[in-house]
């Protein structure tokens, strides 16, 4: 981990202290939710969700900020944030392919799909390609077992998938992006 600990934001004079010294407007947005949660420490997980929605991922700066606002030890905030799978600490790729690996999808060959996408794009599951184009993820169960195997590409659910059809769907969004880039 890089050491971005430029000295953490000075403790706000009151818990209602306004914003972040950087002047980043997004902290004001986060503050609003923190106030609505009445600075309750037990709202940490909800606030981590909110922060991730706002910032895209949870940077050290954001975690420190939450720790200060909720008056929690930073190690505790870090421990909680890293415990839960849905929190992410690095920026995601511009496109995503999430393969459901629930039991129904497993029985119908989801592992082949993961392997194919992983091999084709040279990206291990759970990571983003070096060029930041694609994040390959697996999900425990998206709850559409009747449609197994299920793959979610850029938020769109594709049912009854095979390795080929998944690659096609990924290629469609990825190439579209490259085409746009080439034009621009």
């Amino acid at each position: 981990m890089s050491a971005p600990q430029t000295s953490p934001p000075a403790a706000p004079g009151s818990p209602n202290g306004a914003g972040h010294p950087s002047g980043d407007e997004r902290f004001a947005l986060l503050d609003k939710t923190i106030r609505r949660a009445r600075f309750a420490q037990d709202q940490l997980i909800e606030l981590l969700h909110t922060a991730q929605d706002i910032f895209g991922h949870l940077s050290d700066d954001v975690l420190i900020y939450l720790a200060r606002q909720l008056r929690l030890p930073p190690s505790r905030v870090y421990g909680v944030a890293t415990f839960y799978q849905l929190f992410t600490f690095e920026a995601r790729g511009s496109h995503s392919c999430t393969v459901c690996t629930g039991t129904a999808c497993f029985v119908k060959g989801a592992d082949d799909i993961v392997r194919t996408v992983s091999d084709t794009y040279a990206v291990p599951p759970g990571q983003t390609t070096d060029d930041g184009l694609l994040t390959l993820a697996t999900a425990r169960c998206v709850g559409s077992c009747g449609l197994a195997p299920v793959v979610v590409v850029d938020g769109v659910v594709h049912s009854h998938q095979s390795s080929e059809s998944t690659l096609e769907a990924v290629r469609a969004v990825a190439e579209q992006a490259q085409a746009v880039e080439a034009e621009g």
Binding site: M1, A3, Q5, D60, L63, I64, A67, P73, P74, S75, R76, V77, Y78, G79, T82, F83
Partner: protein
Amino acid sequence: MANRRARPNGLNVTIDGVEMSAVEGESVLDVARRAGAAIPTLCYLDGLSVHGGCRVCLVEVDGEHAPRLACSTPVTDEMEVRTATEAITEHRRIVVELLFAEGNHICAVCVSNGSCELQDLASEVGMDHVRFPYQYPDRAADASHPKYVFDPQRCILCTRCVRACAEIEGAHVWDVAARGADSYLVTELNLPWGEAPSCTWCGKCVTVCPTGALAFKGRAIGEMEHDTDLVGFLARARTEGEWEGRS
């Protein structure tokens, strides 16, 4: 008048066939230790809250279908406990083997060689070798603190340090991050320990560590000795006001 029992509200508990009197609120471990039964412990430490993670103090209790934790199970009247049955011994050995396999415990080059609770426990449970493949996790040591060293290769995640820091010192520098086999200890926001502003340099975490994961800086192989009684002493002094003077 002629109360058969030793004390009012006293309980009769049998530990490995030895009849003991106990008081409500005592744990099986408390009573067993008085009875002289050698129940091993790792995460349990007098003075800290009960964690229940290491599982080596499991014992058999009559009428229970699965083993119970000695450190956290309160005694009840007429309870019968067996602390070292064949099944319990095998469970303990497997648990210790699992600990050796998941970290990088190389006694020969450890600061705590010779005064390590894990090393002693291995002998105690008859672990002459580890049947499971070693995992060789890649964990970097943190020597950034001027006084102490943290070597996570020897960490068994017993959380004694976390609890000593949070409960006795009140600083909460340490916590556990991630989960499952990936769990690891962090200081503050995964900062190098030497840069953690909340650390008071009190060293309680170091004194309570059962292995060589936390040590005083500059100690060579076999030179580290821990003082695990310290936090129990401090906790008692605090709750019983031992420095206030008693009449």
